[in-house]
Symmetry: C2
Subunit: 317 residues, 2 copies
């Protein structure tokens, strides 16, 4: 990536609002790949601001939201549920021509909450980098988080093509592959690839915690046989996920309905002892896995047998 780090910055200044996992990863990525000349950081938490200063990942850590509005690109990296309130406070300070973006995991609801607060001329281009971990906070971020991951843009119709091209170049510089689609389609795609899996994972971990016949300590002990992979997902940030489900309600409920229908059919196969039906389904699902590995969206290394690594570096909380 050395040749990329040496290219010209894409924006003069970038302001990041919210320096958690995603915001701090963007900050680190901007530095590592020279995507902007200056990084301005604002977070509502005094503790986070102090930590960002100590980490030295921004040029300017500002005490007021308004002070971040002067940047050429402002990115909201806060939970989906507060994007509207941040936009209301930020809106009046934005100058026409500035690019406003976000990283929220839901798009239609964020647009509905943010757009009304923007002065004319502000280029609002919502975005969603499909990358993350189950950790939060400014210490959890890293510059390579977006490498070989997708970043979806859902530009408002009235946006300048030049502004969209600049934001595309920005995410490309951070290592992402950029794709554009409508907000509604984004919310449907993510409902199935991300929101439904998280919902199911939270649910199964909750079910296992409530059993009486099997103790919690047994569930933990014998978790390597499948369950632990769900607990990883179900350890994701509660605030972020509450906001996602509340703000992508329709698409999530729609996908959950499909899942439920299929589960009813699967249950019937088990009850009736339909071995051929089970075998056919289990063979079909394998093909999708192969495509994911082939497209570099996961590694082929065996996982269920992964070594217990008590000495792994701590990664956030």
């Amino acid at each position: 990536m050395a040749e990329e780090g040496a290219s010209a910055p894409i924006f003069d200044s970038v302001a990041l609002i919210g320096l958690g996992l995603i915001g701090s990863s963007i900050a680190r990525g901007i530095r590592a790949y020279g995507a902007a000349r200056r990084i301005i950081a604002f977070d509502s938490s005094q503790e986070v601001r102090a930590r960002v200063s100590a980490l030295g990942i921004a040029d300017d850590v500002v005490e007021a939201l308004a002070a971040a509005a002067r940047a050429d690109l402002v990115i909201l990296c806060v939970p989906v549920g507060v994007c509207g309130e941040v936009a209301r406070a930020l809106g009046p300070h934005l100058s026409p021509g500035a690019v406003l973006s976000d990283v929220g995991s839901v798009k239609a609801a964020v647009i509905a909450q943010v757009a009304p607060h923007l002065p004319p001329g502000v280029q609002f281009i919502p975005a969603h980098p499909i990358a993350g971990t189950e950790y939060s906070g400014p210490d959890a971020g890293f510059a390579t988080l977006f490498q070989n991951r997708w970043c979806i843009l859902t530009p408002q119709p009235q946006v300048d093509a030049a502004a969209a091209a600049k934001l595309t170049a920005f995410w490309t510089r951070l290592g992402a592959n950029v794709e554009t689609m409508s907000a509604a389609h984004h919310d449907l795609v993510l409902a199935v690839t991300s929101h439904l899996p998280h919902l199911i994972a939270y649910n199964i971990v909750g079910t296992a915690a409530d059993l009486e016949e099997v103790t919690q300590s047994e569930v933990i002990k014998f978790s390597a046989s499948g369950f632990r992979d769900f607990t990883r997902i179900a350890a994701s940030d509660p605030t972020m996920w509450r906001d996602i489900f509340l703000n992508n309600k329709e698409a999530v409920l729609e996908m959950l309905g499909r899942f439920d229908e299929d589960l009813t059919a699967l249950r019937r196969m088990i009850r009736c002892g339909d071995g051929d039906g089970l075998f056919a389904l289990f063979t079909r699902t394998r093909a999708i896995r192969r495509s994911i590995v082939a497209q570099g969206q996961d590694t082929a290394a065996p996982d269920f047998g992964r070594a217990a690594a008590k000495n792994d570096p701590p990664a956030g909380r």
Copy 2:
């Protein structure tokens, strides 16, 4: 583990029936940790037998099941659904005092199918090492698969304490922590920690594959946001999993019933916009994750952000 490798072998000869992932891992583990003097291998597949010979992981690759019956310890490492038929063919050749075990993921059904074929005096001690990967076959195995994993024994009541102690020592030598419980309890514990998670994973991957509004290529592209972890589990061997669901039907359906009730409650929270209820559940599920990491049953390394590793070593099919 050098000092362990240097201890005396626990069995003189061990026969492995079925040299797939688990059988071949046991073979490699016996060698690596000196758990037996001789390894005899039988597999119904000519191709597997040839591969085992080429890999050199057994002392004797035999062409007939009967030739494997002379060992002090015989372990069935075949799919659950064929354990009964293998036992019928093997039973008459076993000598009193020999220890017979298996590694099946289901215990009550295996016992019901195997026990009737055993001559008196054979020490039948069913076992289930809680370790594996989503790969199959003799190339997928490795000696350290059982390290720091649990192995559950469900000994028949009439079994000699000395035989059970020897099998415990054997699995301990391979790196496992041994636990004893009833077959019925095993099947319930595994229904929640392993069978239900796999069922749910197979189901969600099936659901995603059948959508019309979201293309399969979109599902694959954007899978890093949660979905891919399910596809890993849903890539497990179809034969093995068909047999598990057919042979642990009651416990699986019981756990599925609980899961379904909880999902109905969760769906209602989303529909009603009950943010506090969602937040409370998502906070509770985090605690279980922490215990799993603390007990060394998983690593704390962030996963959703794991690097795409196109150059990972191929691991089985």
